[in-house]
Symmetry: C2
Subunit: 217 residues, 2 copies
Amino acid sequence: MNTHADPYIETDFTDRQGAVLEAALGLLVEGGEKAITTAGIARAANCSKESLYKWFGDRDGILAAMITYQASKVRVSARLGGPSQSPEAFRAELEVFANDLLTVLSGETSLALNRLAIGQGSREGSVLGNLLIERGRKTVRERALVLLQSGQLAGVLRFNDRAAAFDTLYSLVVGDFHVRMLLGESVPALRDELARKEHVEQAIDRFHLLYSKDQMN
Amino acid sequence: MNTHADPYIETDFTDRQGAVLEAALGLLVEGGEKAITTAGIARAANCSKESLYKWFGDRDGILAAMITYQASKVRVSARLGGPSQSPEAFRAELEVFANDLLTVLSGETSLALNRLAIGQGSREGSVLGNLLIERGRKTVRERALVLLQSGQLAGVLRFNDRAAAFDTLYSLVVGDFHVRMLLGESVPALRDELARKEHVEQAIDRFHLLYSKDQMN
DNA sequence: TTAGTACCGTACCGTTCGGTACCATGTCAA
DNA sequence: TTGACATGGTACCGAACGGTACGGTACTAA
């Protein structure tokens, strides 16, 4: 793992700085990257440009700070049920996870930040992209891995490769939706609560079918 | 469907215009959206800015033309085998499709155009995003649906909802990879031919498991 | 009070970029 | 040859933006 060598990685912000980043996120959600100008942020947050540069270095520093700030806000509560559960309880647990995942990914702030990082990060060594993968993906992954293991301990699931099982789960739950939302499409299956619930159930159905204890892969 | 009411949708380009768009795509792949300046395109393509504005209207027109031009180039050859095949032949057919899909999505030009559309298209009514979904997704979808139907006719697959089956197939094959590549990550499972083949086989395995003729959903 | 600190608001500078205008060159038709 | 047309090259303009500098203000500590 990368031990605190990177720039742009500051995780402690004062309240004032947090408020400024909040305003910047608002601008980003509303108007895209084009709306993130230093003057615009200063105006929206009632702060001076000089403070922006003192706190975050330069414009890229502001963008990176926005990502780390937002990520630090979305600390997923890793609610883990007891290690042994009934199959029904575990399935419900999985559905909650899937629903939470879709909720996060379809959030306006998440979409805006992903659009920012993607639009910015054409070349390898994309700082914002790595930041987003590291801070966003890792947390949900951790939570899911714990969940999957508890499912295996409960005898509901069977798999050799826990990471591969997670990838499959993620694929079945999220699938095509993320990219389509990033491209601006309003995905029907995620609009209302009913359609989303149906999709989640189907996805979990398929996952259970692939990893039920009588299957092996 | 939208009948030729939109602007930005021009599908016929002269050779000279095609060469200019080619140069613009080169710039995009190399340097991201930031590199797409009118002066830069004119310089790279040895044409005048005035010609650019005469042909494409404005900068957004150039971007849209780049997408339609590239899409018109990648016409997928819808190679369809005979309607009735052996299960092994059909599975091989599916693997070829999956491999082609991953090849297209991981191509530098495709990634660059997707990054462009995503970075650009924050707000609903994202012209470039719709263009990309329409021109890109539709073709691969058509090809896959034909393929799936032939699989059903051959008795290898069973499903009620062909579209849902396609979504599952797409999810299992592409999964997380597209977004991660868009974010700048070099996905290990797609680097060398061997790892990719293994991934495709696993994905098709799971797809067959879900939609084999003794399952129902 | 005095000095220091942190911050806001604004003005300013250099650069870049989208878009337009103008001129030169080549080509084709009459 | 002459004139119309398409195109390349260059210069130019106005606006926007990143970044810096400066003055003014509130607060704190000695």
